[in-house]
């Protein structure tokens, strides 16, 4: 278990190092980092101070480590447009994004998993077919189209809901729905196939052939085993809580991280982009780590043999 | 030495990590193996699975790295694996695999694959290679019809014939056959062995014939070496080895293989656990299963010592006789 833990932690740390390296490399490739991070209008003193604090006169590998040091102290540069520390600006926006993505995640889980389980247990029924059609639609209809269609229906035609902004709770309904529906469809499809795979396992057929009540087989054997792969995709969704609403926030003029990122990219506000990149990566890596640990709890065999899956 | 193939003191060691907290274990898959094959001669190489016989076969071809020892082919050491010289040398030494379906590319026709060694080594004019492929097929008893077939359209025996034709395309001097018939139906086995025997007689190829099946080995081999847990325990002419096996392990193997005409002699099945390379017993590795083991067999490793002109045995009790 100790080995398993340290291995996973090592991998997580390695990924963070890679993302930071990526940010460092593209930053150096794209021009003078002092000018880029501080902005063209920064005062010469500020730029000199920045150079000194980030050690830009030093050899490249010294700079590389200095970059890590600066990041560790939370120094992610100033926004080119607002002149405020990028980290503060980004953190200010986190609650707004979470206000969309957390309820959406609940919808995905609350709708997607039961639908997938039901569809798998009633294979080829009308509901199964409906779930499959919706699941395919959830993948093929891009979120920007879905959000515009929802706006067209609920805001333009019916006039029930506002089409953009964040003044009231009602403003959150459409963006949350957009995120939730698409994710629920994907999760339903995934859960369904995970369930079907377990249902086809010999031990499940054996158990039901031996006369174990079907209910007990499903609750005791099928669900726990089918949930193991499902946890992975939920983990991915959790990791996406910060980054998953880029398009939807833009459509609904929602003042979260995603919209900030799009604006920052359009304005080439590199300090902000870099901050968001690192924040997203950190969230993703943390979520993956939690999933890995959950895996260990759900399926003790994985602690020893990462490839083993399936039957008892 | 006039030997075609001469291998001295071959050793191959795998490192294995045991359990979660990693006790590193060295596994001696092959240990101090000497063997030689003369032109036109067949050396049978017999052992149970896990005895290191296949590893040895791959080592003499340079397909597996040597951790100890040396392989000389036609008097020269093997070039480094994968080097151009090593690749060129493939025309001189070839291998026949256990599973012919796996050894063939299922997307290419038999004809194309039999022709492939000629393409790889650019042998002969392009236009004549198809012709040559067809004559190779007829050499192994396949007809031109089979050239257009895909591997899955042939029977197991036909596939192995195709593999043999491919191996013979460059007129090699040495053929290493690794369990060439054990994946085939028993009724087909004899045909393929007879084919190999006939080809050898006609072409004068040296052959290393690896098998767990003593009956098959006996039919084709001039000399036989018996290997147990990575070490040769007995070596001699096929005749001697069968008439008077000296090593207790060989005796058990001979007794266990029924022979036409001799009737069933007292079968004394091997007792104890089958050999496990990861858990090699001390001293003579065979002692836990040996009916005549003495105390010293547990402590000291018997060396392979000549008994008479052609025969070598590694057993404390035999050396004393």
């Amino acid at each position: 278990m100790l080995r398993f833990l340290s291995l996973r932690l090592g991998r997580a740390a390695l990924t963070i190092v890679l993302v930071v390296t990526f940010a460092f490399v593209v930053l150096r490739l794209s021009g003078d980092p002092a000018m880029l991070i501080m902005g063209a209008e920064a005062s010469p003193e500020a730029i000199a101070a920045f150079r000194a604090s980030w050690g830009l006169d030093e050899p490249i590998w010294v700079q590389y480590f200095a970059y890590f040091g600066a990041l560790a102290q939370g120094d992610l540069g100033m926004s080119m447009r607002d002149g405020r520390p990028a980290l503060d600006m980004v953190l200010d926006r986190v609650p707004a994004t979470l206000a969309l993505t957390v309820p959406a995640l609940l919808i995905k889980i609350g709708l997607g998993i039961p639908a997938g389980i039901y569809a798998a247990l009633h294979r080829d029924s009308a509901i199964d077919r409906a779930v499959m059609v919706l699941a395919i639609a959830g993948f093929t209809v891009p979120s920007f189209v879905l959000s515009l269609l929802l706006v067209l229906l609920f805001a333009v035609k019916l006039g029930w809901l506002p089409s953009g902004g964040n003044q009231t709770l009602l403003h959150a309904v459409l963006p949350v729905l957009t995120l939730g529906i698409g994710g629920a469809a994907i999760l339903a499809r995934f859960t369904r196939s995970a369930m079907l795979e377990v249902l086809n396992q010999p031990y499940v057929r054996t158990a039901s052939a031996k006369g174990v009540p079907w209910r007990r087989v499903v609750v005791g054997h099928v669900l726990p085993n089918a949930m193991i792969p499902t946890v992975t995709i939920i983990g991915f969704m959790v990791g996406n809580l910060i980054a998953g609403a880029v398009v939807v926030e833009s459509v609904f003029s929602w003042p979260g991280i995603g919209r900030m990122l799009v604006t920052a990219v359009a304005n080439r506000d590199l300090a902000v982009v870099q901050t968001i990149l690192l924040l997203v990566a950190a969230t993703m890596v943390a979520a993956n780590l939690i999933v890995d640990l959950l895996y260990g709890v759900l399926d003790p065999r994985l602690r020893q043999a990462p490839a083993a899956r399936g039957g008892h | 030495m006039s030997a075609l193939l001469d291998a001295r003191n071959l050793g191959r060691t795998y490192r294995m990590r045991q359990g979660l907290f990693g006790r590193v274990l060295d596994i001696h898959a092959v240990d101090g193996v000497d063997l030689s094959v003369a032109p036109g001669e067949t050396l049978g190489f017999v052992g149970e699975s896990g005895s290191g016989k296949s590893t040895t076969g791959r080592m003499v071809l340079g397909l597996e790295p040597l951790d100890a020892g040396e392989v000389r082919f036609e008097g020269e050491p093997l070039p480094p694996t994968g080097s151009p010289a090593w690749r060129r040398q493939r025309t001189r030494m070839q291998m026949i695999f256990q599973d012919p379906l796996a050894a063939l590319d299922r997307r290419l026709t038999i004809g194309v694959q039999v022709r492939e060694p000629l393409d790889i080594h650019d042998i002969g004019a392009r236009e004549e290679r198809d012709e040559r492929a067809l004559s190779l097929l007829s050499l192994v008893g396949l007809s031109p019809v089979h050239a257009a077939r895909y591997p899955h359209e042939l029977s197991g025996g036909q596939r192995q014939r195709a593999v043999i034709a491919r191996a013979l395309a460059t007129e090699p001097r040495l053929l290493v056959c690794d369990e060439p018939v054990s994946a085939l139906d028993v009724s087909i086995q004899a045909q393929v062995v007879t084919l190999l025997q006939k080809l050898q007689d006609n072409l004068g190829i040296g052959m290393l014939f690896i098998s767990h099946d003593l009956r098959v080995v006996r039919q084709i081999s001039h000399r036989i070496a018996v290997i147990y847990l990575g070490r040769i325990v007995e070596e001699g002419t096929a005749e001697d080895l069968f008439q008077a096996p000296l090593h207790p392990y060989t005796q058990a193997l001979v007794a266990a293989s029924p022979e036409p005409g001799r009737g069933k002699i007292r079968r004394q099945p091997l007792q104890g656990d089958p050999p496990n390379p990861a858990d090699r017993p001390s001293g003579c590795a065979f002692h836990p299963r040996c009916p005549v083991a003495e105390a010293r067999c547990r402590d000291s490793l018997p060396s392979l010592t000549p008994v008479d002109g052609t025969r070598r045995v590694a057993c404390h009790l035999v050396s004393r006789q």
């Binding site: - | 299922r106 492939e116 029977s155």
Partner: protein, 297 residues
Amino acid sequence: MKDTPISPDQMSESTEASHPAGSFRPSRPPVPLAVWLAGGWVVAMVLVALLADILAPYGITALDLRNRLAPPGTPGHWLGTDELGRDVLSRLIVSIRVSLLIAFGAAVLSAVLGTTLGFLAAHFRGVVEQIVLMLADFQAALPFLILALAVLAFFGNSLVLFVCLMGLLGWERYARIARGLALSSSGQGYAAAVRQLGASPARVYFRHILPNTASTLIVSMTIVFPEIILMESGLSFLGLGVQPPQTSLGSMVGYGREYLTTAPWIMLAPAITIILTTLAVSLLGDWLRDRLDPTLR
């Protein structure tokens, strides 16, 4: 994400029974109607993309100021016009060409890149393999949209850079698959046999391993292709992908969004095209997967 466990021994090649010459072939189920329709749609889209210059009635920037915001069905403008009086049908046709071109170029790029890296990892093992797997982990750990936005922010936008960027989508999946397949076929079997015949590594990989893995890789391509279309149109929708005056399906939707209340057809025409195209390719991919490679999920 976890490694997708693709167990090589499940590949169909080793399970074929040794039947005598061609006596048994499983009868194949008829091709379903949906697959025919999907194939028809894809073919139509490719034709539209190829023949865009002939099919488009107007230039994409040609203004018809007397017919601004004309609804669909207007004679001469069957899908209507936008706020500047530009013909929606013509813009749609050219957008299909641009979007398909980007998606196709990117899909090929990603397949070539991923497969090559996967083969290199399998061939050299050791450090090379670790680096490739590390990069794949990195790619899988970051949402691609964020990665793409970061690159666009740092380097600005050009069509070439944009295609290359899209070509990074999904490479890690090809790399994992190609590595797995190469490892399983070189450990034993035909690849080892051919190597043992003296073939050069290039011959082993390109003449033997690649054709044997092609079906799996093609199926992966049909899975990645719709993702590329969606990613491209999403970025273009946000105004960060294809830049005006050039047009793509995504940027058309982005433009049409401003006229959602007055002229929804500007946005609907490209939106429906995106949906149908991704749907068609996904359906074809699912069908191909079932037909060619049941082990891939």
